[in-house]
């Protein structure tokens, strides 16, 4: 069974209420946006975390990607707000 590790950071993590989770891989053709939409349907915390997708950024296997990127063979997806380090 192929799986996908999802990691959450910053207020996305606080909204979802966990650091991350492992799900059944939704398929290589699915985009990050589409997966986010499915996650948002899970209920309260998820819906709140992903209410404004224009405020969400993503990395696939530790590389920043646009939200319309397909998951492909990626094993790790991270979802978070725009970064504010430095």
């Amino acid at each position: 069974m192929v799986t996908l590790d999802i990691l959450y950071f910053s207020w996305v993590r606080e909204g979802v209420g966990k650091d991350g989770e492992t799900i059944d891989h939704p398929g290589a053709e699915v985009t990050v946006s589409e997966l986010i939409a499915r996650l948002a349907e899970r209920g309260e915390g998820y819906a709140q975390a992903f209410a404004q997708t224009d405020r969400v950024r993503a990395a696939l296997d530790q590389q920043f990607v646009p939200l319309d990127t397909r998951l492909g063979q990626a094993k790790e997806l991270a979802l978070f707000p725009p970064v504010t380090g430095g």
């Binding site: 910053s10 990395a59 530790q62 978070f80 707000p81 725009p82 970064v83 430095g86």
Partner: protein, 148 residues
């Protein structure tokens, strides 16, 4: 061969040690930038989170980009995580090169890119109990974009 030192962690660091490292590389120019937690507005502490599996690799990519643009003898990037109080250092960028323009420009480039392209997030906690994630700023994106 560029001498590269990247460190991400909770520990404080000594800018003097880093400057000495860069001064010893034989170049004529060393530039540095140190970012510090600013107090005021009742700020009690800042919490710096990051994406550990990605952070070092992403900083290394940014350093590679700088090396491709300027002839650098040395680069130091140190970024702290965890809880930091006003007056504490957050970040240090240092560069050494033969000439001043390369050291100054690459130092500014590196901090502009770290601000917008490294996976760190800041949360501010105030005296009155409020705690807020710092919002990304359009002017930081603009600062990065001026490097083309």
């Amino acid at each position: 061969m560029t001498d590269v030192h990247i460190a991400v962690g909770e520990a404080d660091f000594d800018p003097a040690v880093q400057l000495a490292r860069l001064e010893a590389l034989g170049g004529g120019a060393v530039a540095s930038f140190t970012g510090i937690v600013r107090g005021g507005d009742g700020l009690q502490a800042m919490q710096l989170d990051h994406y550990p599996a990605m952070t070092d690799a992403q900083i290394a990519r940014i350093v590679d980009e700088a090396q491709g643009r300027w002839p650098l003898l040395g680069v130091v990037v140190i970024h702290r995580v965890g809880e930091l109080r006003p007056g504490e250092r957050i970040v240090f960028v240092g560069t050494a090169s033969a000439h001043r323009a390369a050291s100054l420009e690459s130092c500014a480039f590196l901090i502009d890119w770290l601000k917008t392209s490294a996976p760190f997030w800041k949360k501010e906690r105030f005296d009155d109990g409020r705690a807020e994630w710092v919002e990304a700023r359009a002017e930081d994106d603009a600062a990065r974009d001026r490097w083309g």
